[in-house]
Assembly symmetry: C2
Homo-oligomer: 496 residues x 2
Amino acid sequence: MLSLKHIAISSFNENVAYLHKDCDTYKVDDIKNITKIEVHGGAAPVFAFLEVVDDASIVAPNELGLNTEAFSRLNLPEGANVTLSMAGLPPSAGVLQRKIAGNILSSSEYNAVIKDIVARRYSNMDIASFLVASGSFMTATEVLSLTEALIGDEVIKWDNENIVVDHHCLGGVPGNKTDIIITAIVAAYGLPMPKTAARSLTSCAGVADTFAVLANVDASEAKLKQLIKDNRGAIVDYNSLPIAKAGKIVSSVERALGLTQQQHIVASILSIKLAAGVTHLVLDIPVGPSSRIKSTSEAMRIRKLVEYVGDMLSLEIDAVITDGSEPIGNGVGAVLEARDVMKVLRNKEDAPQDLLEKSLFLAGRILEFDPRLRGGQGYHVAKEILTSGRALEAINRMIYAQGKAPQAQLGHLTRDIVSAKAGVVESIDNQRINKIGVLAGASQYPGAGLDLLKKVGDKVEPGEALYRIHSVSTHDFAFANSFVDGNNGYEIDTRK
Amino acid sequence: MLSLKHIAISSFNENVAYLHKDCDTYKVDDIKNITKIEVHGGAAPVFAFLEVVDDASIVAPNELGLNTEAFSRLNLPEGANVTLSMAGLPPSAGVLQRKIAGNILSSSEYNAVIKDIVARRYSNMDIASFLVASGSFMTATEVLSLTEALIGDEVIKWDNENIVVDHHCLGGVPGNKTDIIITAIVAAYGLPMPKTAARSLTSCAGVADTFAVLANVDASEAKLKQLIKDNRGAIVDYNSLPIAKAGKIVSSVERALGLTQQQHIVASILSIKLAAGVTHLVLDIPVGPSSRIKSTSEAMRIRKLVEYVGDMLSLEIDAVITDGSEPIGNGVGAVLEARDVMKVLRNKEDAPQDLLEKSLFLAGRILEFDPRLRGGQGYHVAKEILTSGRALEAINRMIYAQGKAPQAQLGHLTRDIVSAKAGVVESIDNQRINKIGVLAGASQYPGAGLDLLKKVGDKVEPGEALYRIHSVSTHDFAFANSFVDGNNGYEIDTRK
């Protein structure tokens, strides 16, 4: 018997147990390997990784320490008596081995894996193994099974709505924050759009990061329902909602590993939308040589896959293949992107036209989910809502209702990246621009990023700025600067 | 600037950094994901996973805590000034992504991955991803590249020896501890055999676990050299030697995940033997329906692979395909296996004949590496050494030189598993027996395991014991008992 102690350490995903090296009850001095234990005493055993402590002020030899995650999960008071055992394999361990060996898994096997992940019986290593193994080969039926498993038990119900819409972009194009403009237009039109947005995974800023520059993006389920009831639109960080628990754990591992496997992304996105109670989804699939999806045939395979999964799970999906050949808008990074979005909504003359047109096009597709709207009218209705100022009114209502964010500062460390030669911008490398932005600190600081002063087709003179780097930390700034000197991501055609 | 503090927590593989949630210098309250940082101030930056502390007695807001692994790696005194940055991707991150995407990697790419692993720039998740991705597909050239990368910089040199021999078994057969008998015979003959043994990975006991029942298995390089000089033979835990650093980290992850991918095992074993300075190796490849290697054709593929890698790296390999259809000997688990081994070496009448014969056969193959020995004489010389008592003298010298271990106790919780019917034992399921032994606690406690009282071909009466379970912990005992009731691993042919 050991006495339970809460060690106020948060390890994000993982349960950790701490034993003193001279533990009274369990022999720990010869443990030389990663060891998973089960802690008994609560309603259900809790799995945790063992760490060994040589400081009695942290845990004494008669105590078992649990980090914040494990302690809250065990749900016993400090001082409670607990016992330990070596953890057996999680129930789905055999399923994981089968996937590592290259087998096709059944629906109930995916359920077993996801159940173990939610119960934290999988370590981050186990999750990484599952992701890499399943990422290398999955049938469409497996993607369906994984999507269903990821939806889980918590689904938001919209009792008084026939249609609940959303929009999602598969990403890979810097600056592409159409979502906020679309939500404003759709909300102004009157369709309910609870936009579940994500923080950046590998990009400079996710939609949730960009909207967080303008408003509070955290919401409970009750608050989200009230926001939609009052304003028809809301943009919230899906991490703050009690949905898609397994997806959040999995995506934390994906983020740490930089994994972006299409079949997982499809399963993850569709499960979040289904758990959020969405009935109609426009999915933007941008294609370009330096985008995530490089060819129309690849985009078409993804479209077929999402249509199949959507059909099986009664989610109406309009998957649209768009031009992802260069960044959208001028800003890359949350503060700069929010600036572009507000310029469009305010009908400013210098608003980025590509962001404006793409937003109208996609908003129009969503509006056409409304059976009352005549086919082909979506774009025109969206444009009327934007130019009349109704979209701006809608976003202001949404910001006010969600809670206005304090004014965010643009990074004050700046450098203009200039063209060495005269000519016309022939291409901009999305991946390079994203990486420079990430190095400049954009995925950490909203105020960091790149302001693209020239886009494809623009003329440049020698010494003229192509874009401006903004950083918040000197370390990031130096990192981005040394990286950009090798290749700034722009190709200039000097013959024109 | 933060003040460095050592947090006396050992996390086995992983570097961990602790920051207070109200850290003076770095904003940590909005960190919601697994985050890797770099700690600057020492000779080289140290990578660590960030954990957030809400207890100033562990770390204060002006301090940075490092766990034992990270602290010793940074090599600065407590109170030193350190700074942090977000960790960039390790240099070989792109290589890892290429392997996840299914590509063939070059020799320099494997070197880059292994270099990052040794520098602890890979997390356990990263290592798991690498193992699963590379395990699904590797060419023979890639196995060679991985082997070379795993050898690393530290290689033991045997200046006065022309031949340095070793033996290794690919495993999957419970109780198969020929290694100790072989080492005694070979040492008595006079060939140098520094047997680098491993702790159990997924089995009930590794060779190092079993020999640890008899002697101290830890040795420095200098001590190993002295042991071989004095006695010609030694059996040491390779983890105690300063070789194959990357392999140890990788194998800790493999153990935690239960991964047993043949190509990794081949690269791992051959790299350890080469780093130990071995020139001639007998490799035992047991084949059986419930062994790790299930068919002769699979065994032949492995033989070809190890011969290719051995040839390229000038390691003479005699790969022998053996019968792995049932456990070898009677004991499964360190104490019981050590008992069997000593019975053979003492020429006891009740010594397990299968263990005896297999040991003589394999020892004979090693002796024939000696150019002075006439072909075909190895087995007979080995038998003469064993029956004359010279092998027993050799093992006793080895035990004395390495340090005699205190008497180990057999687990006092026992249960006889009896046959329900009369007949003849038709087959014994290796994997089932291994699993029952592991559940009984054998991989944790030397005294736990199974004592097989009947082997294939033995007659049994109803109610007669097939084997006896030994456990040390009541929890393990209950676990093994409930598992064994479903299927005890024995097939009885009632027609005979």
